[in-house]
């Protein structure tokens, strides 16, 4: 057995005089390092081609804990450092990992931690809802804040400008033309060609991290289910799994399987919607009509079997809220057969269509190298050669007991992202078939155990968009003292700025839809 990257990383840190006191958050290795060596540690990890996964910070008694999660081959390492409350600063990791940049700006806006030599210090999540030297996630900042009667728009954001003959700028949003979430896109273009795109997000910042503080486990699960409406199962699962870890609650096997069923159903529902919408963005109504029909037919039984069309609040701390009857299992198995038969007709029909081919192939190219540099996950990563799937690489119940093939493509264009979705539907159908036919008997919910004060939990769940990271820390009263969740969109959004380069402006909607980042999940 070859040496794991974690051991190699540890040796490299030691040989560079970086002390890293080891401890554990459940099965994830946690290394406490000196803040002055924060950037150096990241550089060593990058040399081992580890992926930067997530970054967050929290206020503790000694000052602020700053965390950075790294991963390679499904093996996660959490780096942690502590900076003093008086002068909270440390060297930036975004000079090493581009993916860390927005996360550091998020931490800068909400906690006032200064990342020195960070290449970009512009506010990110903060617009004008609170003052420059106020930090909502600090303990002395009240949840209510001191809002003005009308929050002014954020007019002074320094967008990158392009100048030259025939160069012009297109501002888009936050209110878009379709039924979609708000965000701002600033294009620099020549003729129809996009020279540069800059995203400006943060419009739907709802203070989720602040709202989580002081909540009971049940109430946190409710909040997590509303981080991103299309990933309600995946986010609910991630938050509950993190809490269950912290409280050492073992969920019943049947509950884990039911969670798996709900999560795969969610994946299928969203992929069905997305494939139709991508085709619709290039004016191919046939696919939109067929796939939105399939999506509706897919959602309807969920109201009966899972208590909600989108399965919101189905996952609760300790298990799930509703059991499934053998009849319903049988009906779902039948529905899988029907769906597969439908797709076997529709998919070849759109595959053979030349007008669709013309618009989707080669549009919105993301190279495997760029995907790796940004640490892109989910179907966006898998369409650009990033062979990573939490379900396979760091399996959790029920996936450790199931057979499935992770989907991988390397063409990196819009068509490739469509094909990954199609293949993921097929893979999920197979998974569902296994889970429904071998569903273990037993309880669906375990009793809650009061976690110890300061107990931490860190969960990784593969939602339909990709890997979700959820972190919780409890206080002494069974309530949450810190909750952070990293939606896959956080690492995928920056890739969109690269995907659209040299494409034409009218292809932006289809490029955007092929990535389909969550605004709400990103803005928190």
């Amino acid at each position: 057995m070859s040496q794991s990257w974690r051991d190699m990383f540890s040796q490299m840190l030691s040989s560079n005089q970086i002390s890293h006191k080891p401890s554990l958050i459940q099965d994830t290795t946690l290394w406490q390092i000196e803040s002055s060596q924060w950037q150096q540690a990241a550089r060593l990890a990058k040399d081992l081609s580890a992926r930067w996964v997530a970054g967050w910070a929290e206020q503790v008694e000694a000052g602020f804990n700053v965390n950075a999660l790294l991963e390679k081959n499904g093996d996660y390492v959490l780096l942690r450092t502590t900076v003093p409350e008086m002068h909270p600063q440390l060297p930036s990791q975004s000079t090493v990992y581009a993916a860390a940049n927005r996360s550091e700006r998020h931490t800068q806006d909400l906690l006032g931690i200064h990342f020195t030599d960070c290449p970009d210090h512009r506010p990110w999540i903060k617009h004008q809802a609170w003052h420059k030297h106020e930090y909502p996630l600090r303990k002395d900042f009240p949840l209510s804040g001191q809002p003005q009667s009308i929050t002014p728009p954020d007019m002074d954001y320094a967008f990158v400008k392009a100048r030259g003959h025939g160069v012009y700028e297109i501002p888009v949003g936050p209110v878009h033309a379709g039924i979609i979430e708000p965000g701002h896109f600033r294009f620099q273009a020549v003729g129809e060609t996009i020279l540069n795109l800059e995203e400006r997000l943060g419009y739907v910042h709802k203070g989720i991290e602040k709202l989580a503080v002081g909540r009971s486990p049940e109430k946190l699960a409710r909040l997590a289910a509303r981080i991103s409406g299309d990933s309600t199962v995946a986010h609910g699962w991630a938050a509950c799994q993190a809490m269950e870890q912290a409280a050492s609650v073992e969920i019943p096997e049947r509950a884990a399987w039911l969670r798996g069923i709900a999560c795969e159903r969610e994946r299928i529902a969203n992929h069905l919607g997305d494939i139709g919408a991508i085709c619709n963005d290039v004016g191919f109504a046939f696919a939109q009509m067929q796939f939105s029909r399939l999506r509706e037919q897919w959602l309807r039984p969920q109201l009966k079997d899972f208590g909600h069309r989108l399965m919101m609040d189905y996952i609760v701390p300790g298990g799930v809220s509703l059991d499934i009857t053998p009849d319903a299992c049988e009906q779902q198995l039948q529905a899988l057969k029907t769906l597969r038969q439908e797709l076997d007709v529709i998919v070849p029909a759109i595959d053979m269509n030349s007008s669709l081919e013309d618009r989707l192939y080669t549009a919105g190219y993301l190279s495997p190298q760029t995907a790796q540099d940004f640490g892109v996950v989910g179907y966006v990563g898998r369409a650009s050669g990033q062979d990573f799937d939490v379900r396979r690489d760091k399996p959790y119940a029920p996936y450790h007991a199931l057979q499935f093939n992770a989907v991988l493509e390397d063409q990196g264009d819009v068509a490739s992202r469509v094909w990954v979705r199609v293949k993921e539907i097929f893979a999920s159908i197979k998974l569902l078939r296994q889970m429904l036919s071998q569903l273990p008997e037993g309880a669906i919910k375990a009793d809650w155990k009061r976690p110890q004060a300061q107990a931490e939990g860190l969960a990784m769940i593969d939602g339909w968009r990709g890997e979700i990271i959820s972190y919780v820390r409890f206080d002494e009263n069974n309530c949450i003292s810190r909750f952070y969740t990293r939606d896959p969109s956080c690492v995928n959004w920056p890739a969109l700025e690269k995907i659209v380069l040299n494409n034409i402006v009218p292809d932006f909607p289809v490029c955007n839809k092929s990535l389909n980042g969550s605004y709400s999940g990103h803005d928190l």
Binding site: H127, Q128, A129, W130, P136, F141, P142, L143, G145, P147, I150, T151, P152, P153, D154, P174, V175, A177, I179, I180, E181, P182, G202, Y203, V204, H205, K206, G207, I208, K210, L211, L223, R226, I227, S228, G229, D230, T232, G273, F286, M289, Q290, S292, R293, R295, E296, L299, R309, L310, M312, V345, I346, P348, A349, M352, N353, S518, Y519, S520, D523
Partner: protein
């Protein structure tokens, strides 16, 4: 191409029919909406959807109104790209403070007479997010609201009922509701 025609023909019309009302109230509801829109909006009601901080759950269900099963356009309801083309603003979300000005400007850009529907628990009263440093706590804190549709998220059928409720409100008042609240 033949595959497309073949699949289209074999799929047939899946839209839940309006001609023969049965126990399913979608059909009844649709007929009623259609009659009222014909009478009070000359056959067409233009809606501009504004996400003011929703989690995207409401948007998924509003999208569903346009799928071939609900096919809300057959009742004369259609979604438009600009507030300047809209009769109604359909607003979701607790109105994040960062979206407050954008929502206000969208409302100002909508020509009179205009109506506002607050769709989803968040839009009605702040929902899970409530009022905080980051959220205004409901659409009526920012612009006048004529009709509310509760639900997290409201189902497509509830949305359709809400739209009908708005039209029924309009016909009982000679003045537009939004104007009378000013």
């Amino acid at each position: 191409m033949l595959r497309l025609f073949s699949k289209t023909l074999k799929t047939g019309v899946v839209t839940e029919r309006v001609k023969k009302p049965t126990s399913d109230d979608l059909e009844q509801l649709g007929i009623e909406v259609k009659q009222q829109i014909d009478r009070h909006f000359k056959g067409s009601l233009a809606i501009r959807e504004v996400d003011a901080g929703s989690c995207n759950g409401c948007e998924l269900e509003i999208h569903a109104l346009n799928n071939p099963i609900y096919d809300v356009e057959r009742f004369g309801v259609h979604f438009v790209a600009s507030p300047r083309h809209a009769d109604v603003l359909l607003v979701t979300g607790p109105v994040s403070r960062h979206m407050q000005t954008a929502l206000l400007r969208t409302w100002q850009a909508t020509p009179e007479p205009k109506w506002v529907i607050a769709a989803g628990d968040c839009a009605v009263c702040g929902g899970e997010f409530g009022e905080s440093y980051a959220c205004c706590g409901g659409v009526d804190k920012v612009i006048p609201v004529d009709v509310t549709i509760p639900g997290c998220p409201p189902t497509p059928k509830m949305l359709l009922k809400g739209i009908l409720g708005l039209i029924n409100g309009v016909k009982t008042q000679s003045q537009p509701l939004a104007a009378s609240q000013k």
